[in-house]
């Protein structure tokens, strides 16, 4: 156990935000989850008791008679905002007094930093470079993330759970988002920050960074395993595999989705449904590619003269 190495990574000033983000995220998942469970309990109660549903206030905290429905922004909202601003200022002040922003040697194009890391919030994408070519990890993925986020409101046709925390009424939406945000985004950032060392190699926490370590990883391409050697057939084979993934994967997801969310399935238009399917399958393809790399040492699935996937 190399405590010094561990400390160096943990205490690098630019890594502190990530260390802060983990407990923050955990806290807010807890805070949201708690309210979701409380609401779900209420929903179950009201569903079981239609008479109560007619009379009930429908929020998890009881409304007392005599209370006003609305309160003045001044002072009731502004004081909260003011307090928040003060607290943030204090945190920022203390942080800025105790921890200095990093400043390395002057930029030197002849002296490569190893590892050369992007700012922490892009480390998830940089981590993807291990598994995908730069045009996918660096260009296509960010574009798909942005577009994928933007289309969410237009493909989520579920009218329930608007304006309150719930799990029961939005299982599919919430688990998909949690998967994308927590697993694919945050945990990849975590790996990129704390695990990846020189040569972007995997170093467990506390393992000494060995700048000379070489890993002889023999990666193969999927067509090679099947003994396909001509370029033309490699291209056709890869296209078939990728096509089959979308076809079979699509059929499986379709089968599951229309059974578990029959109402949404009915509500969605063909366009909405195909957009959702496309983004969902592409997202699920990431961990699949990661897995086949680690399990079978497969580098590319689809090889063409112009691009490899």
């Amino acid at each position: 156990m190399d405590w010094n190495q561990l400390w160096q990574i943990l205490s690098a000033p630019d890594n502190v935000p990530i260390i802060a983000m983990i407990p923050l995220l955990a806290f807010y998942i807890y805070l949201g989850g708690k309210q979701a469970l409380a609401n779900d309990k209420l929903i179950t109660e009201l569903e079981a008791n239609p008479a109560l549903a007619k009379t009930h206030h429908r929020k998890t905290w009881p409304f007392r008679p005599g209370w006003q429905k609305e309160v003045h922004v001044w002072p009731f909202l502004l004081r909260v905002e003011f307090l928040a601003a003060i607290i943030v200022t204090i945190i920022l002040m203390v942080w800025s007094i105790t921890l200095n922003a990093p400043l390395e040697e002057p930029a030197n194009p002849n002296l490569t930093m190893n590892p050369a890391k992007a700012p922490w919030y892009f480390l998830g994408l940089q981590e993807m470079l291990v598994y995908f070519d730069p045009w996918i990890a660096g260009v296509v993925m960010p574009t798909l993330i942005i577009i994928g986020l933007m289309v969410i409101p237009y493909i989520d046709t579920n009218p329930l759970g608007s304006g309150y925390y719930t799990w029961k009424q939005r299982r599919f939406a919430i688990s998909t988002f949690l998967f994308g945000f927590v697993i694919l985004w945050v945990s990849m950032i975590f790996i990129g920050t704390f695990i990846r060392g020189p040569g972007w190699q995997w170093f467990w926490p506390g393992q000494t960074w060995d700048h000379n370590r070489l890993i002889y990883e023999v990666n193969r391409d999927l067509p090679d395993i099947f003994g396909i050697s001509s370029n033309l057939w490699k291209g056709i084979f890869g296209a078939a595999v990728v096509g089959a993934y979308f076809l079979i994967g699509g059929l499986i997801v379709n089968g599951l989705f229309r059974r578990s969310n029959p109402k949404d399935y009915k509500r969605m238009s063909l366009l909405q449904y195909s957009i959702m399917m496309t983004f969902f399958l592409i997202m699920v393809a990431l961990p699949i590619k990661i897995l086949i790399r680690h399990l079978f040492h497969i580098k590319y699935v689809w090889i063409t003269p112009w691009f490899n996937i």
């Binding site: 983000m21 929903i43 009731f76 800025s96 400043l103 919030y121 045009w135 329930l160 304006g163 309150y164």
Partner: protein, 308 residues
């Protein structure tokens, strides 16, 4: 003026002027003896009620005693506060619902603007000066180090806050009708926040920023169609000297032009664009009916299916 027209204005009565002046002055002094104390008393009275002065009422347009009307006016007649409605749903002020993250993001943007402008006073975006300016800031400028630290950490905090804000908006389903469009505006703001942070990374011109930006922009080489190493890029005539990366960096390597471009995007371009989108974002929060909740729960059985 001709000599013969010069008169004393007294119709030829000599000595009249002097007497008139002396009696006049006497009268004035008499009047002052009574007027001055009276006016002074009046002035004291006026000043003892500063909220009644013209100066005050011209600035503050309503009274401030604690009445519901004044509470509302305090918000509505203030250009900064009038983004808020006068009243909100009593539950909407619960911290546990919004986590305050949108507001905190905005506050951090404000802090960053303030500290950023101060930093700009000391910083030259040139290869010769940039790094030295940062050293100078750290060691010689009073509170320069604190300033730089605050700018850096506020930037990191803003990225965290905006991600948590998005997370909250998702969990509460607040992107659903009628707020779909504001969610898309939000996504643009998220991207702009990341770009702001990223363009700032290069500015100290140190190894950290240089290599981070090198790694980041190297990916642009691989842009499909538009990068010289990307799929179909070479076929479309892309070279290191005319592809998107060249456009971003103002050159084929991260150098002086890249520093300048970074600086201009960071300090002028993106902040202006982001401000415009924030204005739209806040406007839409109001127009979409204020904050989405905490709303009463809706049961599955109550959903009316739209007729197709």
């Amino acid at each position: 003026m001709p000599e013969e027209n010069k008169g004393n204005g007294n119709n030829g009565k000599p000595g009249g002027l002097l007497t008139r002046v002396t009696t006049g002055v006497k009268e004035d002094l008499e009047a002052l003896k009574t007027d001055l104390p009276a006016k002074a008393k009046e002035q004291v009275e006026i000043l003892s009620k500063p909220t009644k002065t013209q100066l005050y009422t011209s600035i503050f347009r309503h009274k401030h005693d604690d009445t519901p009307r004044n509470r509302a006016l305090g918000v509505l007649s203030n250009v900064f506060l009038h983004l808020h409605p006068a009243k909100v749903n009593r539950d909407a002020v619960r911290y546990s619902y919004t986590w305050g993250m949108g507001g905190i993001t905005f506050y951090l943007f404000f802090v960053l603007t303030l500290t950023g402008v101060l930093l700009m006073f000391y910083y030259h975006p040139s290869k010769v000066q940039a790094f030295r300016d940062v050293l100078y800031l750290e060691h010689d400028v009073p509170y320069g180090k604190l300033l730089r630290n605050m700018h850096r950490w506020a930037a990191h905090l803003m990225v965290i806050a905006v991600e948590l804000h998005m997370f909250r908006v998702f969990l509460t389903g607040s992107y659903k009708k009628p707020r779909e469009f504001n969610w898309t505006v939000g996504v643009i703001l998220l991207v702009l926040t990341l770009l702001l942070s990223f363009t700032g990374y290069l500015l100290p011109d140190d190894q950290l920023g240089f290599w981070a930006v090198t790694v980041g922009t190297n990916m642009a080489r691989a842009t499909p169609l538009l990068g010289h190493e990307g799929p179909f890029g070479p076929q479309l005539g892309m070279t290191p000297y005319n592809d998107v990366r060249f456009g971003l960096l103002g050159g084929s390597i991260v150098d002086a032009n890249a520093l300048l471009r970074s600086y201009i995007w960071h300090c002028i371009g993106i902040p202006i664009i982001a401000s415009v989108f924030m204005i739209v974002h806040f406007w839409r929060v109001r127009k979409d009916g204020g904050i989405s909740g905490p709303a009463p729960v809706v049961l599955d059985s109550e959903v009316k299916e739209a007729k197709k």
